[in-house]
């Protein structure tokens, strides 16, 4: 009976049988459900502890187009990021716990009230060509993203740097006008892949310090990469266990899930929340959801009537049924938001800020107090704003009408939504992917001078706090300042933030060593590096 049971546990961990079937079969052999489950857990753990080198890891991903490029400066979607991680590395990376870990940089330190930062380049690190990485390469990379001709999507991140220099072959130094305790984590931005000589003249060469070298790159179709010798992180038994990694672009949600179910890929991103629970029942795969920092918003320009009235904004905030939206739009794969862009996935989050509840009485009260003339309040939406945006707006409209607020929905085409509607029209639906730290989120979208201040939130007191917190090295004081900022946005801001969305991935049970990372799907697209196939 023991060998029989052993075979059965292997069948489950190997994905040939479901957990439920196993418990049923084990019961037939006279084993109780509790014992059966315990056996399974042991079997799964045994498989988890010893990485196996070799094999091919195949990812089926949405978010790739045939217009994609290998130039990191122009990456804007998921697939280029996932491919870029294979061959390239930035100075540092975010850890799942919210900390920082060195990649190209071995260590770093700030001085002069966080105005000067020195990064030490890892000793013995080489590009895939075998050429050693020097501080000069790092300097040139940063220059390419920040110089006058830069067309980089990271320009906004590096523009706060006032000067950069190298000190010897292994020190890269950055100076800032205003101190920033979070500067190291900004260097984890995926556009800032360190390239030889900064990639000048060879922007799309795909040469970096990553564990893999590109073999094939067909934009919008597939990309393959093979493990290289001489990766600084160690050999295949230590890290980056697979011989080969394949990225297959599957933009159609059904094609993606079908490919996972039929075993053509090992992992997929953005599982449609509508089918996530059903998919999880399939025997050979697991659906994983990780709460991240991404959120869905309705944004009002607070400098434009009628949204310049704080009572009207409060009326709208009270009139949205957050629980219902999480349940119906995210199918439970998410959590409610509190009208400021920070949640528990951020370091230094204050969980004592009271959650705004759905309250039609208060909504009515504030609406009457606002003295609005009763003309329709127009909310612009498109499905491209976020998955389910049109439905979410319809639910919002229903609850607004119940509070006597005349909300009217205007549907916009997906095409051109980000250039014609978002950040242009006074009230529309949108999403944010979140940022690794509070400072970056607030600086990107809630600072007076920010390009993407999509709620036109321009508040001197708020700006002052943001800058104060940035240079503050004492975490207790910093948390206090961020808490005050969160409370202020919650009370007065133009952002109506009903929900934070989870990342929902699907993974074959053959893949071992998977863990949660709130930064991006598929373990922040580092799954290829940390997992292996049993």
């Amino acid at each position: 009976m023991n060998t029989k049971l052993h075979d059965l546990t292997r069948a489950v961990t190997g994905g040939l049988m479901t957990r439920r079937d196993f418990v049923a079969r084990a019961a037939a052999l006279g084993v109780t459900a509790a014992t059966a489950n315990a056996m399974l857990a042991t079997a799964a753990r045994a498989d988890q502890t010893t990485p196996v080198a070799g094999g091919t890891f195949r990812m089926g991903l949405s978010g790739g187009e045939s217009t994609n490029t290998q130039d990191p400066a122009l990456w804007a979607s998921q697939v280029p990021l996932a491919i870029g991680r294979l061959w390239g590395e930035s100075l540092v990376r975010e850890t799942p716990e919210g900390g920082i870990e060195g990649l190209v940089a071995e260590s770093w330190e700030g001085s002069n009230e966080a105005k000067t930062w020195r990064f030490k380049i890892r000793e013995g690190i080489t590009f895939s060509t075998g050429q050693p990485v020097t501080a000069q390469d790092v300097l040139r990379t940063m220059e390419r993203h920040s110089n006058e001709e830069s067309k980089s999507a990271a320009l906004g991140i590096v523009s706060s740097i006032s000067s950069m220099r190298t000190d010897g072959d292994d020190i890269f130094e950055v100076s800032l006008e205003i101190g920033n305790a979070d500067l190291p984590i900004l260097m984890a931005d995926y556009h800032l892949m360190i390239q030889p000589d900064g990639g000048f003249g060879a922007e799309t060469a795909a040469i970096g310090t990553g564990a893999y070298v590109m073999e094939d790159f067909e934009p919008g179709v597939r990309a393959t990469a093979t493990r290289r010798e001489g990766y600084w992180g160690g050999d295949q038994t230590v890290t980056a266990h697979y011989d080969r990694v394949e990225v297959i672009v599957l933009n159609d949600a059904t094609a993606r899930t079908a490919a996972l179910q039929s075993g053509q890929v090992d992992s997929i991103n953005s599982v449609d929340p509508k089918i996530a629970r059903l998919l999880d029942r399939a025997p050979n795969l697991t659906v994983r959801n990780v709460s991240g920092r991404g959120h869905y918003v309705f944004i009002a320009h607070i400098d434009t009537a009628p949204f310049d009235n704080v009572d009207l904004r409060l009326a709208l905030k009270y009139a949205i049924n957050r629980e219902e939206l999480v349940e119906k739009i995210l199918q439970g794969y998410g959590s409610v938001g509190n009208d400021f862009p920070i949640n528990a996935a951020y370091p230094l989050f204050d969980d004592t800020i009271p959650q705004r509840a759905f309250d039609l009485e208060k909504a009515k009260e504030h609406y009457e107090k606002s003295g609005h003339d009763g003309s329709p309040i127009i909310l612009r939406v498109a499905d491209g704003a976020f998955a389910g945006a049109v439905d979410a707006a319809a639910l919002f409209q229903q609850t607004c009408l119940a509070a006597g607020i005349p909300l009217e929905i205007k549907r916009e085409p997906n095409d051109g939504y980000w250039s014609e509607v978002w950040n242009v029209q006074p009230f529309c639906a949108s999403y944010w992917g979140g940022r690794p730290v509070q400072d970056q989120m607030y600086s990107t979208a809630y600072y007076s001078g920010a390009e993407w201040n999509d709620t036109r939130w321009k508040n001197d007191a708020f700006d002052a706090k943001l800058i104060e917190a940035r240079a503050e090295l004492d975490d207790v004081k910093r948390k206090q300042i961020y808490s005050e900022m969160g409370r202020q946005l919650n009370a007065e801001g133009g952002v109506i933030l009903p929900m934070f969305n989870d990342f929902v991935d699907g993974t074959s049970n053959e893949v071992q060593g998977y863990s949660d990372d709130p930064n991006s799907p598929l373990m922040n697209y580092y799954a290829f590096k940390h997992t292996w196939k049993a």
């Binding site: 217009t67 122009l74 597939r222 490919a259 075993g263 051109g416």
Partner: protein, 318 residues
């Protein structure tokens, strides 16, 4: 000169004119869409400075007419240019995509055209009896179901349940012909089901029309068997309308299968075109447009020539 040659020459000249008109329409249409390529590349993350730098680099600050003329100049010298979005050579990127599209269209045509004509003949032979009704019912059902739905149903059964064929039609150069055929098996089945009804019904109708003629009655009175009458007497006289429909469907198989490409992640022309329209990458859209228009014009030309050649009265004008 032979009248057919004159006709071909006329048609070709007209085709070139049509292509030119199409290129102007496509250019104007793509330029009129909101947002430009720089905005679409940088997306939500665009800063004004990055936009300005990218526009200058891509030459988007030139007036539209100048951009069109420089594109036209390049094309007349056989240079399709490079994609604005990723800087890849368009001719090179398109040739792979076009080869894939043609591969899929070819195999779908090889299976569906003979099958449709055979089923059409069979339907005529058993007119108004159960085989005729069954063929019509099945083909009309498959043409009425949206193609992506047929795709999903076949994927569910053949790929997920039975695991006979892959659900994703990934192609690459290192695959053998057998592997490639295996990869496109389900898309070919879907396309066959989609185009079957149109061609089958036209074959049936055209032949039934001819079957009313006096010479068919004569053939029957001579004691010929029904299938032989259809094959040797009716079919040659019904060929023109059938070829017309076949050509239309072939054109569809080349230019109209973007939905199938998306469902099966097949790297063909349709998906390539749609991606570049979304990014306002005008040179690529122009190149795809020209190829699609050329395919339509070319296949229609073939249909016309076949109808003339198959008709002695047109072949030997007085």
């Amino acid at each position: 000169m032979h009248p057919i040659l004159i006709l071909v020459a006329q048609r070709l000249a007209l085709g070139v004119l049509l292509l030119w008109a199409a290129s102007i329409l496509i250019f104007a249409g793509t330029t009129m869409l909101p947002g430009d390529v720089a905005q679409q590349i940088l997306g939500q993350g665009a800063t004004p400075q990055a936009l300005e730098n990218l526009r200058a680099e891509l030459g988007l600050n030139d007036p539209p007419v100048a951009r069109y003329l420089s594109w036209l100049g390049g094309v007349l010298q056989g240079d399709l240019g490079t994609a604005l979005t990723n800087g890849l050579d368009i001719a090179e990127s398109i040739s792979d995509r076009l080869a894939n599209t043609m591969f899929l269209a070819f195999w779908a045509a090889v299976i569906s055209i003979p099958l449709a004509i055979f089923l059409g003949l069979l339907a005529v032979r058993y007119k108004d009896r159960w085989p005729d009704k069954m063929i019509s019912a099945i083909t009309l059902t498959t043409i009425s179901i949206p193609e992506f739905m047929i795709g999903y149903i076949l994927v569910f059964w053949l790929s997920i349940k039975l695991r006979w064929f892959p659900s994703v039609a990934i192609m690459n150069d290192s695959m053998s012909l057998g592997e490639k055929l295996n990869a496109i098996a389900i898309p070919v089945m879907v396309l066959t089901l989609v185009v079957l009804a149109h061609m089958m019904r036209m074959t049936r109708a055209a032949i039934l029309n001819v079957m009313q003629s006096a010479y068919i009655e004569t053939a029957e009175l001579k004691g010929l068997r029904m299938l032989k009458i259809i094959r040797t007497h009716a079919f040659p006289n019904a060929v023109a309308p059938i070829v017309n429909v076949v050509m239309l469907n072939m054109a569809y198989l080349v230019v109209g299968v973007v939905v199938i490409e998306v469902v099966f992640a097949y790297p063909g022309m349709g998906q390539y075109l749609v991606d570049h329209v979304a990014k306002r990458d005008v040179p690529v859209v122009q190149a795809c447009g020209l190829i699609f228009a050329a395919v339509y014009i070319g296949l229609n030309l073939v249909a016309d020539i076949v109808s003339i050649v198959s008709n002695p009265r047109l072949r030997h004008p007085k």
